[in-house]
């Protein structure tokens, strides 16, 4: 299981912010440095295991999570840790 102490393990991992347009991934976890943000992402379905696909990077990040299309600012995209899918 992932615990709070494993932050460093993932700091070098992939994040949503580093995906290219059209690339897919699976959410591994959401950083909890800003709990309100993490809660809101969870409520919108951005939780471990959810599949994401990046649709756009500029002027804001737009991605698909499951069947939900979400627009977020860059700092939010940085807080979403993912594992890349082919």
């Amino acid at each position: 299981m992932l615990s709070g102490s494993s932050v460093s393990t993932f700091e070098h991992g992939r994040r949503l912010v580093s995906l290219g347009v059209g690339e897919r991934g699976v959410v591994v976890r959401v950083l909890r440095d800003n709990p309100a943000r993490a809660e809101r992402l969870k409520a919108l379905g951005v939780t471990p295991g959810a599949r994401v696909r990046l649709l756009q990077r500029f002027p804001g990040f737009v991605f698909e999570c499951d069947q939900t299309e979400l627009a977020v600012e860059p700092s939010v995209a940085r807080a979403i840790l993912i594992e890349e899918l082919g």
Binding site: L41, K42, L44, P48, A50, Q67, V72
Partner: protein, 595 residues
């Protein structure tokens, strides 16, 4: 459509039975899943339906018959969570459940988004109320290749699960039949209260999705409107079409038709003739058909000058709302709003404000923090002209020049930005991160559009016309008692000295305090009578645009932000309005501007 009731529950005693008061049924669900459509189908009452999250901010109630039983149905604002960090409207819904204001919960879910729905099911189940789960929009889900095993879902949760296409009325009878079988949902206990893993596992197990090719066009369109290279030109075209439809067709063609063709040609002469003939008292005659007459002024303004624009605006605005286009503007505006202490989500109340600032003030509840809500309320009060006011602006300045129009909007936009920037620095508190759900793009249904537009026009007539008439009566009394001369004389230093306007404008500003559009309608007449020069019209309209919108809006600000904040906003906004007008007047004079 099918309804699945777990066998063991079907045998349980029915929830519905004869009781002293109607059974209270509350509709709960994620935003934009169709709660208001189901509400309308159940009760026959219309709750505003749009294609973006946050349309329902308060609660709406209506009556429905289920079998022989009368139910009170409550439509609640959409929620993403009922526990943890909640927005204002999520608190509204939570209170409904927590305070036992409901006997039964109908959770409405978007069939495509089972995982998110289940997280909410788990949180709603904690209130131990009997529940029914509705999987709505199963048609869209199927087109996207998503199928949910409703029967197994029902037996696992221990509650009825009904599949619907509410907009077409499919599955509604099944829903009514399922209500008696409602039961508290059975959710496995999770120690830390985090149900996301359970929801993910359950949804993955009970949902089959196969790749689908349909939706390609939607995807293409979605990409076109959100990418700057194509999205900004599309925005420009959209704005231009709105201008053509509202500013030219509504504010010029229709206004001319109704004002000259109906009011000046028939109604006003007829009313005057009737009054002359049957009313022996000059004062009463004047009250009805004089220069400040209820019919000749109040009714003419409301019906001939403002109504055509409001109607055309509501129509095109409703179409945009239902298409799902408006939330996508948040992507472009996020960076700008962040400089004003807000985030892209604020585009919703701001654009809604173009329809009606009062309603938009209520919509600020969807914003994340108290600071954001205060800034949004302030900016709405300061600079966002509502449709009725846009009407008169377009009517007056459209007749002068495009440069005049650009000057006014340029000054107002700069002022919004400037005040927003300052407020972001000076007010305490934080802004929240920009995280926004984009609803699917859809071709708006004509029935909902017509229904919504007619209701909004009716609302305008009920809300604005009485104020126009009260305002007219007030002006009449001021005029007859000689007080109007005092007001005009008292306002002279400001109106004539500071703003360089004719003294009569003072009375128009008095009207503007009641409703900005009513005041602007007064300016419309002054300018038609040739009493305002082009530059004066721009100055007067800018000041009017920056005033607090209307009495109703002010009351709403008190409701949302408290009396103290509301008074502070009123004083601040009036100061900004007058000083901006003065600045503009002197700038025009020094630069020798004329339109």
């Amino acid at each position: 459509m099918s309804c699945h009731i777990a066998a063991e529950r079907a045998a349980a005693p029915p929830v519905l039975r004869l009781r002293a008061r109607p059974l209270k049924v509350v509709l709960v669900g994620n935003p934009n899943v169709g709660k208001s459509v189901i509400f309308g189908r159940l009760t026959g009452r219309y709750a505003t339906v749009s294609n973006y999250p946050g349309t329902t901010v308060g609660i709406t109630t209506g009556r429905a018959m289920v079998g022989a039983e009368v139910c009170d149905v409550i439509d609640s604002p959409g929620v993403n969570a009922l526990e943890g960090v909640l927005s204002e409207d999520e608190h509204v819904t939570r209170r409904l459940l927590a305070n036992r204001e409901a006997d039964l919960v109908i959770q409405v879910a978007d069939a495509r988004n089972l995982r998110r729905a289940l997280m909410l099911t788990a949180q709603a189940a904690a209130f131990s109320l009997p529940m029914v789960l509705v999987l709505n929009m199963v048609d869209e889900a199927r087109r996207r290749g998503v199928e949910v095993d409703a029967a197994r879902l029902s037996s696992e949760l221990g509650i009825p699960v009904v599949e619907t296409v509410a907009i077409e009325g499919q599955g509604l009878n099944e829903l009514k039949e399922a209500l008696p079988a409602a039961a508290p949902a059975r959710i496995p206990f999770v120690p830390n209260g985090d149900y996301s893993a359970w929801a993910h596992e359950t949804a993955s197990r009970l949902r089959r999705s196969r790749p689908s090719s349909i939706g390609r066009f939607q995807e293409f369109l979605g990409r076109a409107v959100r990418q700057p290279a194509t999205g900004l030109p599309i925005l420009a075209v959209v704005l231009y079409v709105i201008y053509l439809f509202v500013g030219v067709f509504g504010a010029q063609t229709l206004v001319r038709l109704i004002e000259h063709g109906v009011f000046q040609a028939y109604i006003n002469p007829a009313a005057t003739a009737l009054a002359d003939r049957f009313i022996p008292f000059a004062a009463v005659r004047d009250f009805l058909v004089g220069p400040y007459g209820l019919i000749t002024m109040g009714l003419t303004y409301a019906m001939a000058i403002v109504l055509p624009v409001v109607a055309t605006f509501f129509l095109i605005f409703g179409w945009l709302e239902d298409s799902g286009y408006i939330p996508r503007l948040a992507i472009f505006s996020d960076r700008i709003f962040r400089m004003m202490g807000l985030n892209g989500k604020a585009v919703l109340p701001m654009v809604l404000g173009l329809g009606c600032d009062t309603m938009a003030t209520m919509t600020t509840r969807i914003l994340g923090t108290p600071k954001e809500r205060l800034i949004a309320v302030l900016l709405l009060a300061l600079g966002i002209p509502c449709s009725a006011q846009l009407a008169t602006i377009l009517g007056i300045l459209g007749g002068i020049s495009f440069a005049a129009l650009l000057t006014l909007f340029g000054v107002v936009v700069l002022q919004i930005f400037f005040v927003g920037f300052l407020a972001a620095q000076l007010l305490p508190g934080e802004r929240s991160d920009f995280i926004m759900e984009l609803p699917p793009l859809r071709l708006p249904g004509m029935r909902n559009l017509m229904h919504k537009t007619l209701l909004r026009i009716r609302w305008y007539l009920w809300e604005a016309v009485p104020l126009f008439l009260i305002g007219t009566a007030l002006l009449f009394v001021l005029d007859k008692t000689g007080l109007l001369r005092w007001v005009v004389a008292g306002g002279r230093p400001v109106v004539t000295g500071l703003l360089g306007l004719p003294a009569e404008t003072a009375q128009v500003f008095v009207m503007g305090f009641l409703r900005r559009d009513y005041g602007a309608a007064g300016l419309f007449q002054l300018s038609h009578a040739g009493q305002l020069s082009a530059t004066q019209a721009v100055v007067a309209l800018t000041v009017m645009t920056l005033f607090v919108p209307c009495v109703a809006n002010f009351l709403m600000i008190i409701r949302e932000q408290g009396l103290k904040a509301a008074l502070a906003i009123l004083v601040f906004v009036t100061t900004v309005a007058l000083s901006t007008g003065a600045g503009l007047h002197y700038a025009f004079r020094i630069l020798g501007v004329d339109f």
